[in-house]
């Protein structure tokens, strides 16, 4: 096995699901049940079932999936923090795992003391930490706080300290679990840059995140876990595309519109009634039904991934009792080719006449968006038509 390779075959992992705790009485209970021939199977919940994962040296893998799908468990198994119930895990070389950067940091110690503590937890010698100390402090932007006890740090500083130490450990395999969630935008970008630098050095990266844009900006390949089973494994764009679609579909089903006003019908077309085209006019048609006349402040939004709209349009109007047709015309559609979702809501400060929810999805035809270079977070796709001039001076 070469350094930086990951070979996990047919991994099974289960956790206790019964309500009993790790106490003498409960353990005796379990023994009693087993002796009396009772099955113990219902007391377990499978976190991972028959998961295969093979990663080559220098690859960058994104692990995605909803909460509780087994992403973090998988990462812990790769980090050797946990052992599988069945299957084989082999990871070549030094492993650096950022599963919870706050775990190794003791609140009663100062930042500087913690740098040494966390460093040696991650397997870095004191001498090495001492050599990089200034770099670590500078990376975490903690120059003024390093001699203070960590319990007086803000949560952002806390995470910056953890990530700064971890970023300088130089492992062969770097496992990262949702550490970018805290910290301001500038620090997040710094972390991404650091991860890109680490990738450039040939380190293998496995990245777990709910932030699909971040996954897309770092990883070439993605593995989608669903309920402890690999749903798909392939190039990041394809897997993320499939994933977004199902998440959206699930959201559509899960969000029943329980407001006072009902959305009867939605249509997203060109004015001529065709499939929407990038940079062409678009018309959104909604049929609403209200039991009484209302002064409504309506919002329409378009999203690519779950919930974060690319743009929002607001309008106030009087809705008479009965059915009303609402038409919104956009003279120039700024979206690239792809699949998008239309969201609608009538939201007042005291009540939601129509809760914010997806009311339809639509395809847009047109040119593909410029591919995002690695390490840049693309929040939402917008098609802009620039003119470029490159002139020697």
């Amino acid at each position: 096995m070469r350094d930086g390779e990951i070979q996990a075959t047919r991994i099974w992992k289960r956790f206790r699901a019964d309500r009993q705790r790790q106490l003498l009485r409960d353990q005796l209970d379990r023994v009693k049940r087993r002796l009396s021939g009772g099955s113990n199977a219902h007391g377990w919940r499978w976190a991972l079932r028959d998961v295969d994962m093979a990663v080559g040296q220098g690859e960058s893998i994104g692990l995605i999936g909803p909460n509780g799908s087994g992403k973090t468990t998988m990462l812990r198994l790769l980090a050797k923090v946990m052992y599988p119930y069945a299957g084989r895990v082999a990871v070549g070389g030094r492993v650096g795992a950022l599963i919870d950067v706050r775990a190794g940091i003791h609140p009663d110690l100062t930042g500087a003391e913690n740098v040494y503590l966390y460093g040696s937890l991650l397997g870095v010698s004191r001498r090495e930490v001492a050599r990089k100390f200034d770099e670590i402090v500078a990376f975490g932007e903690l120059e003024t706080a390093i001699d203070r006890q960590v319990k007086f740090y803000s949560s952002g500083m806390h995470v910056r300290l953890g990530f700064a130490i971890a970023a300088f450990t130089e492992p062969d395999v770097l496992l990262v679990d949702e550490v970018l969630a805290v910290g301001d935008a500038a620090f997040q970008q710094k972390c991404l840059d650091r991860m890109r630098a680490v990738l450039a050095q040939g380190t293998t990266v496995v990245f777990v995140s709910h932030d699909l844009q971040a996954v897309e900006s770092i990883c070439e390949r993605a593995i989608w876990l669903r309920d402890g089973v690999v749903e798909s494994d392939g190039p990041v764009r394809e897997v993320l595309g499939d994933y977004r679609r199902t998440v959206e579909q699930a959201a559509e089903i899960l969000t029943p519109a329980v407001g006072l006003v009902r959305v009867v019908k939605s249509e997203i077309r060109t004015p001529g009634g065709d499939t929407p085209v990038s940079q062409e006019p678009l018309e959104v048609k909604l049929v609403l039904e209200s039991p009484e006349p209302l002064w409504a402040s309506m919002s329409i939004g378009v999203s690519e991934g779950p919930a974060t709209p690319i743009f929002l349009l607001g309008h106030e109007a009087l809705l008479p009792a009965g059915q009303t047709e609402l038409r919104c015309s956009i003279p120039f559609l700024p979206l690239p080719r792809g699949r998008f979702y239309l969201w609608f809501g009538i939201i007042e400060s005291t009540r939601d006449l129509v809760p914010w929810h997806p009311v339809g999805q639509f395809e847009v035809l047109g040119p593909e968006l410029t591919p995002t270079p690695r390490g840049i977070l693309r929040m939402a796709p917008v098609q802009v038509t620039p003119t470029w001039e490159v002139e020697q001076r």
Binding site: R10, L23, G87, H106, S120
Partner: protein
């Protein structure tokens, strides 16, 4: 492939994971991470002294207080035969290994549970946690040994040249302590309520060990089984014989105790490794 595997509800039996314990590589790994033991011990010491007004005095306080209590009461009431040495020295020599043992076991026993944040989030050989607790106990003992030096001065008593035997006794003492600490730290993860019983057992242990009294309290015929059951007894007896009386250790008792201590260490290590796969799941 995906659809098929989601229908299977149990892994085939031949896939079940077994942790292969290879002793030499495991020990080598702990040795490579010795800096971590030091750092963890340092963390515990720093955290302790940051809060405490008395600072390092805490390390000395327990054995010193017990020594004074024992000297005042036992010496008057029980008339212990110390073989001519001052009673304060006699009992303090018993208190040093006992305090090391009881601190190691009570702190080290809980080390995996207390450090659960690290156990289930950071990889390192798990032995470092009980080892770090023992290192803290060792620092305490070292500081308390300074008081022993002071006691020699005060009582105007000279340690005998046979004190050279001390490393042998120390080896038996540390092996036994480490073995017990390993077992307890691992078992405590799965039987959390044991931590409430532990202080009581240790309290009783203090009186089941010849700390306040001498080995001669136990009948001659029972001394060997007693030494096997409680390897600390001949160790403490050995400290007194070598340091205070100028005699070699009593090999008839120390021999079986050394075997028992080695057994504790071996069994402790096996138990620890056997239970290790569950640490992160339950800690």
């Amino acid at each position: 492939m995906t659809a098929a595997s989601s229908r299977v509800t149990e892994p085939p039996a031949d896939l079940l994971f077994r942790l292969k314990v290879r002793v030499i590589p495991a020990i080598r790994e702990v040795w490579q991470r010795r800096e971590l033991v030091r750092t963890l011990a340092e963390r515990d010491l720093r955290v302790r002294y940051k809060q405490a007004v008395l600072g390092i005095a805490w390390s000395i306080l327990t054995p010193l207080a017990l020594m004074i209590v024992f000297t005042v009461f036992f010496q008057r009431v029980a008339k212990v035969d110390t073989g001519g040495a001052p009673y304060a020295l006699f009992t303090y020599l018993g208190l040093l290994p006992w305090t090391f043992f009881s601190t190691s076991v009570s702190q080290g026993g809980q080390s995996l549970v207390v450090n659960n944040q690290l156990v289930n989030k950071v990889y390192c050989p798990r032995e470092v946690f009980p080892l770090a607790s023992m290192a803290v106990a060792a620092v305490d003992t070292l500081l308390a040994t300074l008081v022993l030096g002071l006691l020699f001065v005060v009582t105007e008593f000279m340690p005998k040249p046979t004190t050279l035997w001390v490393p042998v006794l120390l080896a038996v003492q540390v092996a036994f302590t480490f073995g017990v600490t390993l077992v307890l730290s691992a078992v405590l993860v799965f039987l959390r309520d044991l931590r409430h019983v532990l202080p009581i057992i240790l309290q009783l242990g203090l009186f089941a060990t010849p700390v306040a009294y001498g080995m001669d309290v136990v009948a001659k015929s029972l001394q060997v089984p007693y030494s096997i059951a409680n390897p600390l007894a001949p160790v403490i007896d050995g400290y007194r014989r070598t340091v205070l009386l100028g005699l070699p250790p009593d090999w008839h008792l120390l021999g079986p105790a050394a075997v028992a201590a080695a057994l504790w260490l071996a069994v402790g290590y096996v138990v620890f490794k056997r239970l290790e796969p569950g640490f992160a799941d339950y800690a």
